[in-house]
Amino acid sequence: MAGPDPKDMRTQQQLEPDSLTTVAFNRAIAEHADGLQNYATRLLGDPIQAEDVAQDAFLALFKHLHQVPTAAFRPWLYRVARNLCLDQLRRRKFKIRLFRDVIKDDDKPHLPRDPREHRPDEIAEAREAQESIERAIESLPAKFRDAFLLCEVQGMSYEDAASVLRCPVKTVSTRLFRARQRFRSLVSKEISAYKS
């Protein structure tokens, strides 16, 4: 005699999380959606595709809520987003484009307002500095860039980054150190401007 299909059991669990879990999920969206989209944008160079990746990552999380502890939502989401981005890049089969190549001028992210920056030449200078920093990140070797984006830019702990990248914590620490060394030398001009 056939019994209930365990696939139905799983689907039922996935569609009806308890209220505590739903609250935790909504909180995760509020806390991590922007960061996730930013991270994916740096990998893909396209904020629209990046937002789709962020949506897909949350969708996947919802399907696996019963498997992922709340405390692990963030690294889990980033790991999934990274997989999705790498898959897209493989499909594209071309080198990662610079952020500014994909975005039109009027779509460029808004630069932080500085009360001193009211002259057009200063605004242009700030934009150029930002693009230079983005290029520096872009030019880091892939493994170093991974650690840099997660720890330096996204503020993730070494442990969470290790979970995302599926490597030991020590490896994250070493790669981050190397990334910082390279990044520092690539943005030396911006550092001098920052000092002044």
Binding site: K7, A54, L59, Q67, I133, V153
Partner: protein
Amino acid sequence: MNCRDCQRDMSQCLDGRLPSGRRTAVMQHLETCEECSQLWSEFRQAQELALRLPVSRVSPDFHARLWERIKAGEGTPEAVFNEPMPLSTKARYVFTGAAAAALLLVVLNGWVPGTGGSTAGDDGELFGGFTLATSEPMPFEPQLVAQEAAKHVAREFQTLDLNSRKLASLPQGRLDEPTFRAINESARGLRSMGRVILLLKQDQHLDMPTDMEVKLRLMQSSLDVNKLNSLRDTRELYNMLSSLVRQLRDLELLPERIRVRPFYRLEERHEFWRKAGDWFVEDRDLQNYIHIQVPEQQSLRVRVLSPDGLQVFFNMTRPQGSR
């Protein structure tokens, strides 16, 4: 401390990850070494530049669109779990044959249900054939075990709370059997699942705040079966349970307060499976509440609990001659 050691430690120092002794050594070196001091300053400024990069926001309807997709029952994109696997890991899976990831391959490549040693649960029946085996059983991973155990503690705690409040409305005197059984059932589940979490913590597979660990241990000792059996009076039991529930209220948040440590080496996972397999055999509650499978060298044991309480258990053995 020399310059090489100082520069090597700078990155971790920036992130506050150095033990205090080493941090002090770095700071002291920076006071006396201009080159390292300059480097430290540049590291900090470079970090500031990275942190000042603008952060864009998702579109205002992101949340609404996501929930629409969830309600529409959209599937998980396939690429979500396509992870680049190092060659050494692939080689390990091939040669050891015991990795959880190999399970699906094994199932799809013609394993057959065992004929000997399969038993049914109390209310269950034996499932024959592949249907059940290919229905995504979850591997016996510490993350799953910990999360399921924690969720069960949180739920069962709420049940205990509810039952203890009902005691207040009962007449004083000896507690009736059905109510006592219900309370005992909750207590048993709590002890059992609490024990799993504490075992995981003890074996360093899991982190949790100290106060949460203290509360779990208090729960274990207070809900001891002999202690409960000695409190058959409604008033005494109510006083004990209501006080306990007040002290342990935070256990409702247990699923959010635990964190399972990642396992990087297959040997660590094997060690976990070896120990945890014993828990699974000994502990009926673990069998009841966690839908798991325990990978072993030549056979798989699968235990399933369906929503209506049907429990099935069967062995899958490797066909002769297969790898």
